[in-house]
Symmetry: C2
Subunit: 412 residues, 2 copies
């Protein structure tokens, strides 16, 4: 088994200012490439700390990926420490310099006074192109161990890892074939799902591993097949996938990297049906999820974010009496919101939500988290009440997911 | 300086399934208590890994906080390894057992068959009460180093840390004072900012450290002051903050944990002014950002997400001729969108955006990333054209941030 350790450099990780999302993304890529991650270590950008981490991880793992500390400012010392550690000098790299010049001039900066130090890298490393930034990735080898240093900016790091690091690691270490197939399920809790597939799981061949990946509102089941030879790994994965599919076909809504919003989009596109939303407590978040999918303009006309009652009345046509009598968070109002936006936007489907996201605005009768969701379809209108928690951000997310779930159940 | 290391145990952190939010929360608490975090380490729940981490961190830091691996399932081995490491036996603890019984019976479980192993802890540790779960925190001391083991469930860990660990650490170590002040800037790249504050930075007293924290569309500057005595640390931080403020007052939009949307919100609230948005390419994302702030209903009336031209015409009142002549992504259309929503929603300010988020839809004249943003104020209307990149998700984010920047520049 090829092993890796991830070292994330940056004081912001040690004072709790930033959550280390780079680490989990990187760990996922390595795992999917068949490389086992032994540790993730966040350290400060001090020389001794970086040296200690390089020594320690270098003794334990085949691959060491570092992020952070490569920018142009003075607290970025990783490059110098790497030159020292690998007993090399920082030398001017023409290719890197040309890349920085092109990138900055595209962004409209004056490149005539560009300092050449930005294009200096240790002589004994290989520069990996950074499409989205000025600091290149740097690939070092020492006693058959690989060390790769990258900037900490997430999208810069991600494209270097995906386009250059992973392919080169696979080329060098040939970690064997690992294939994944993920089933996205919704509407059944993890424990119930486990019971349903128990017999099949017990008979799984040893080369296949099953993982439960629960998320708010859904459970993902990931099959991982390993072996030395692609054809046979593919065959086993295909066979077991087909068996699993048969057992739980009623709760599977998608596969692999799909999301509920992309699956809904595909279905609407196929049906040639249009959607609109009317959002109160989610404040545009449902529309944002739907429009995150490229091509969504083919089935999504838009949304009215009616954050005040005035807009619910004037734009969506909700009756003033309903607002007074039942309140904004009520079955009557959310139904009128759905009907209103469906009519106004002339769509086949309309989702509407109204709830108390919190932290204030709750009453004894309608505590924070109380939420009504309505769906208008070409045939009917349905409305459901939910009681989520006290946390504003989570309430917004849960409401959006519940709304998309209701829509998917009608579409499928 | 009292130092700490955080060890998070759990395979889910090493396969990229879970983002390590516990670590950043814990690091923040320790920092605010004046304890410096040297490293955060995520490891798997294997005996050798836990022992290696305890040895390594125990040699480096005064305080070692561990999370994870304390539950009732078979892969939770932390407790046994701790007993081994601290050369102790697992012994039944009456107090812990009573707590588990009370908690489980409250939740409706049958406690008659409760296994006593769950209440066994190493004889030489002090149990810290876990209000929200069955596994207690465990406080060990060895050669004046403190090791605390806690469950990995975030809200269980948080209450143990806040109520017991931090107070006991302050009591034992009487750590010095660490204070932070973060300046949020926008509109100037990191390198330009560095140049502007170079002279001031060179003269910073040794007790203060400066860090650059760039993010898409903004750069945060963090000052960290240390010392033994609160009054003098505060004084130095205040003095240097004032000097920095003077140099770059034109680009500072906020401080510490603030966001652009919260700063805008505060200003609108103070001015008693209302805002609405009309969004095409951002698909509701601007409204989502604004409504992420609790209390935003006091200054935000809502949004029209006009994802199709039909909605731009029928709901926002954009002229059909303008759409035909100039296209949806044009100065004329985005101005009419801003005017339309301002009128319809009866607000003081209205932001409108229209762009080609991509990946398709670009032309030679208007490539992917072309974006128009308009702001209608009580006095005037302004419109600006941007050319962002080719990445859909980032284009949406950058557009939203640019729009909020334009609004902030008018408000401030």
């Amino acid at each position: 088994m090829i092993t890796a350790e991830i070292i994330n450099i940056g004081d912001e990780l040690l004072i709790g200012q930033v959550v280390n999302t780079n680490a989990s993304w990187m760990a996922k890529q390595l795992n999917e490439a068949g490389i086992e991650v032994l540790r993730v270590i966040a350290i400060s950008d001090k020389r001794e700390e970086i040296i200690h981490a390089l020594n320690d991880s270098g003794n334990r793992a085949d691959v060491i990926l570092l992020t952070g500390g490569l920018g142009p400012t003075r607290d970025d010392i990783t490059k110098k420490v790497l030159a020292e550690y690998f007993q090399s000098d920082l030398v001017f790299n023409e290719k890197v310099f040309e890349h920085i010049k092109t990138l900055l001039s595209k962004r409209g900066f004056d490149v005539s006074k560009l300092r050449t130090e930005q294009a200096e890298i240790p002589a004994n490393c290989k520069a990996l192109p950074n499409e989205h930034g000025t600091a290149p990735g740097m690939w070092f080898e020492k006693d058959n161990h690989v060390f790769v240093s990258m900037p900490g900016v997430p999208y810069e790091m991600k494209s270097i890892v995906a386009d250059h690091v992973i392919p080169a690691l696979i080329e060098k270490f040939k970690p064997g074939v690992i294939l994944h197939k993920t089933f996205l399920t919704q509407g059944v809790p993890e424990s119930v799902l486990a019971k349903r597939i128990e017999d099949w799981e017990d008979k799984l061949p040893k080369t296949i591993k099953l993982a439960y990946l629960p998320q708010p509102g859904m459970v993902r089941l990931r099959l991982t097949a390993r072996g030395n030879e692609r054809t046979s790994v593919e065959k086993v994965l295909l066979e077991e996938s087909a068996k699993l599919e048969e057992i739980i076909s009623d709760v599977i809504f998608g596969y692999d990297e799909q999301s509920l919003e992309s699956v809904i989009g595909n279905k609407l596109l196929k049906n040639k049906q249009m959607l609109a939303t009317a959002e109160s407590c989610t404040g545009g978040y449902i529309a944002h999820l739907i429009t995150s999918i490229a091509g969504s303009s083919d089935y999504f006309k838009g949304s009215v974010v009616a954050y005040s009652n005035e807009i619910k009345e004037n734009v969506l046509g909700v009756k003033g009496e309903s607002l007074t009598e039942f309140g904004a968070v009520s079955e009557a109002v959310v139904i009128q919101m759905a009907e209103g936006v469906k009519l106004k936007f002339n769509t086949d489907f309309a989702l509407a939500v109204s709830g108390i996201a919190g932290p204030s605005g709750g009453t004894e009768e309608k505590p924070v988290g109380t939420t009504w969701i309505a769906l208008a379809t070409p045939e009917k209108i349905i409305a459901r009440k939910f009681l989520f928690g006290e946390h504003r951000e989570r309430n917004i997310r849960k409401t959006a997911l519940a709304a998309l779930n209701i829509l998917w159940n009608e579409l499928k």
